[in-house]
Symmetry: C2
Subunit: 495 residues, 2 copies
């Protein structure tokens, strides 16, 4: 019976109880920035305390410790792009009057990722309001050979949303208008800078829901969600953005506007170009508008939180509370009878539903209190999902404080987190490339839903064969021959 639940119900949390007790008290805000900063020499994503963090820059001496510059921590060379000149700034001022940000204080938040692991040194951030403005900016940058870092809510996990050097930051923050919503089909068309939570509110008032939901919903932009092919909490139920995104408007590297912003469920006129940009992390074009299919708002929602050796959070949604409760009860009877589950609790009212979800959504934050965190986001065949966690506990022994595995059971997506008091090169050496090799050995993916960005680009080949990598590089060269769009991201540097 259990297999049948997989595609109908989001089964979204599982975690070894020994790894971290759920009673651990963490602050309310699930989206608070971690105050700790990454350790030095942890180039592949460890987050934690470090005695070597450089404090204080000219503009932020009174605030949190400054994050080390990416170019100082990682072995990365600036490509020969032009440097922004006074003439360029004047040109940008003509394109986006009053929306050219050069103030260092204001720039800082956009130069550093939210995990505080990477930091660029961009000197200018542009805030276009329209597709035409984005087109003018890119045409100009293309001609001038200026590199551009497209940025949505800057909530990425892999350093894809901030500059590596001095790339111009192209923010979608002011492109936040709903263009249309169709009350029968549920098709929403909006600008790329709309915040996911605001879109959720907008469509929920009209009896629909967004097909995706993320912990970062309060900050992330729909354009960024699409550009990174965000997964999240509704993936199991409503599927991938490759299926729910119906159309995109994209500005290409040379400023060409590619309008594939249809609101049609079916369109087989030629190649489905929008798919190229879903998950390409801003390296092939800048998404300026999105057409997306919203499912009807469920009338009944049940959340079950179950215990066995694992904690399991299950959400069901349907159109009749009575029917759903009946199905859920008989499922619970079944799993209790068979000893699959030993204890649990049910919630239907909003407050308790939110409380149970908070247990899941606050894990990232809770982990950041554990010291230095080594983070991995991998896909595995569902029956092997937890094996890597057990394996690593044995392998690492006391080197690791905790080896925590949680994630999306129905999607085969494991969020693997290894914590230690402080960064250690030997722990990193025990983890990498071991974790990637282990994953590759299972035909898994070394990035399930977080993407590659800057921090994971060099592990792409663990999950993709050389022919695929070559074609990706050819596509990049075709769409962005000067390589100005989000350079140093997604694809490994060419040899």
């Amino acid at each position: 019976m259990v297999p049948h639940l997989v595609p109908r119900w989001p089964v979204c949390l599982f975690r070894w109880r020994a790894a971290c007790t759920l009673g651990a008290c963490v602050p309310q805000s699930a989206w608070a920035r971690a105050s700790r900063t990454p350790g030095p020499g942890s180039p592949r994503g460890a987050v934690g305390t470090s005695p070597l963090v450089r404090r204080g820059g000219s503009s932020s001496s009174s605030r949190a410790p400054e994050v080390m510059l990416t170019r100082e921590r990682y072995p990365v060379q600036r490509l020969p792009f032009s440097v922004v000149s006074e003439e360029d700034l004047a040109a940008f001022e003509r394109i986006t009057p009053g929306r050219v940000v050069t103030d260092p204080e204001e720039l800082e938040a956009s130069n550093v990722d939210w995990l505080r692991t990477v930091r660029g040194c961009s000197k200018v951030l542009l805030k276009p309001q329209t597709t035409e403005e984005v087109s003018h900016i890119l045409r100009y940058c293309h001609e001038r050979n200026l590199a551009v870092n497209p940025q949505g809510g800057n909530t990425g996990m892999v350093g894809g949303s901030v500059p590596v050097f001095d790339e111009i930051i192209l923010s979608t923050a002011l492109m936040n208008q709903v263009i249309s919503f169709h009350g029968v089909s549920g098709i929403l068309v909006c600008q790329a800078g709309c915040i996911l939570e605001e879109l959720s509110r907008y469509v929920e008032e009209r009896d629909f829901i967004m097909p995706l939901d993320l912990g970062a919903k309060g900050s992330c932009h729909i354009g960024g969600n699409v550009a990174t092919n965000a997964g999240g909490l509704r993936f199991l139920r409503y599927g991938s953005l490759h299926g729910t995104v119906l159309g995109l408007e994209v500005v290409l590297a040379d400023g060409t506007v590619l309008n594939c912003l249809t609101s049609l469920r079916k369109d087989n006129t030629g190649y489905d170009l929008k798919q190229l940009f879903i998950g390409s992390e801003g390296t092939l074009g800048v998404i300026t508008a999105v057409s997306i299919l919203c499912p009807p708002k469920p009338r009944a929602v049940n959340v079950a939180f179950l215990e066995s050796p694992f904690y399991v959070l299950i959400e069901t949604s349907g159109s009749r509370a009575g029917h759903d409760a009946e199905k859920l009860s008989s499922f619970l009877e079944h799993v209790l009878d068979f000893g699959l589950v030993t204890d649990g609790t049910l919630a239907t009212d909003q407050r308790r539903v939110k409380m149970l979800w908070a247990l899941r959504e606050r894990i990232t934050e809770a982990l950041s209190r554990d010291g230095c965190v080594y983070k991995y986001d991998i896909s595995l065949p569902v029956e092997r999902l937890y094996d890597l966690v057990s394996d690593l506990r044995a392998r690492l022994g006391p080197q690791a404080k905790h080896v925590v595995g949680y994630g999306h059971l129905g999607d085969g997506n494991l969020h693997l987190n290894v914590t230690a008091e402080a960064f250690s090169a030997s722990l990193l050496g025990a983890l990498e490339p071991y974790v990637y090799e282990w994953t590759a050995g299972q035909q898994g993916s070394v990035s399930a839903e977080h993407g590659l960005g800057f921090k994971k680009k060099d592990v792409l080949s663990y999950s993709k064969p050389p022919a695929a990598l070559q074609l990706m590089q050819q596509l990049k060269a075709l769409l962005d021959p000067k390589g100005i769009l989000n350079p140093y991201k997604t694809l490994p540097a060419r040899a």
Copy 2:
């Protein structure tokens, strides 16, 4: 309430009762080949009787009237590909021993499309069994500059699956093995030549269903379904192949094997290359294997056939018969109370369910008995879906015998069919480009689910802007620089 039904239930048939009475008796076989042949001078897809059909070739004088050669009917020039030589045949014999077909009788079925509207004159058909053989064939053809027409079940509606001239036919018929099936996740991996109905049977025995279903299921290949991004009867419920296809193995024009055949729900390692090939109609690569997500088999299926001014066929599927019947009853009460529906019937047993579906599935065949049929497959905003039918009735007057609109209400997909006693250039002139312009005026798609193939490639620009067309041509040039893969299809000839 009705809007909520859209994404949950397939609402799959509607037809103006005056257009064609359902009592019309047609033979049992829903997939019988139409015996009529197209009229001359009807280059854009009319199917019907014609006094000018050329009968009898050297090899088929005793059989159905021969279909006119595409190169004789359409203004199309053969591109400068090489011509298959005796040496080439010997080389193919080495690659696929005993599976090189040159017998004209055997070749005929693969040179003509099932609608009997287009006909190539290929002299050789190859039947590889493995990906390696496909790779060897393409590497050889690429070197020799020989054009190749990949062919699945040859069930396409737009002339995409048969050669236009003497392209080598590369059949997937012998690539029909299931590679793996995962009984928990429902992920099926199989070779491209598996017949959809056989896969359906295979997964249904394991308590799953295929995420797509088509009238052509008895003949069509899964590789062809993916290559044409087939829609069909389960689209509304389970979504597009862009969402349900998890991985593909594709052989590129030069013989390179691109292995993206993962069985993972989530994989964000670089660009999602498989998406390029979904819907590219064999023009960018030959799909050799498919990984696809199958939903659990519903335990309860209800079919309602309702009458108002339209006939509406609704199928529901769920896990509890009692619950589903209750929901359906209250829906029916509601629509009857509001006068939205005047009459109808319900079916739950298999036999009656099949009988009701046959009413829908036999429409194509029934129409072919009406004389010459002009066929269009368009997407429109759902509220405008039927307007074109009424509009055309007024516009065409007695020139048309019937103007029939049916299709997929929930998907906004109209199958528009105009019938007449015989082909007439003036009727064609009244239909085209009017139908395409009307569709473009509604931001619709001139090919919803049938693709462009050979017959619709020149109307692409009604639904796609020049920048999109240019990028498609660049992608074609990148992936198939010699243009050997399914030439004369999908993209308009370059000026």
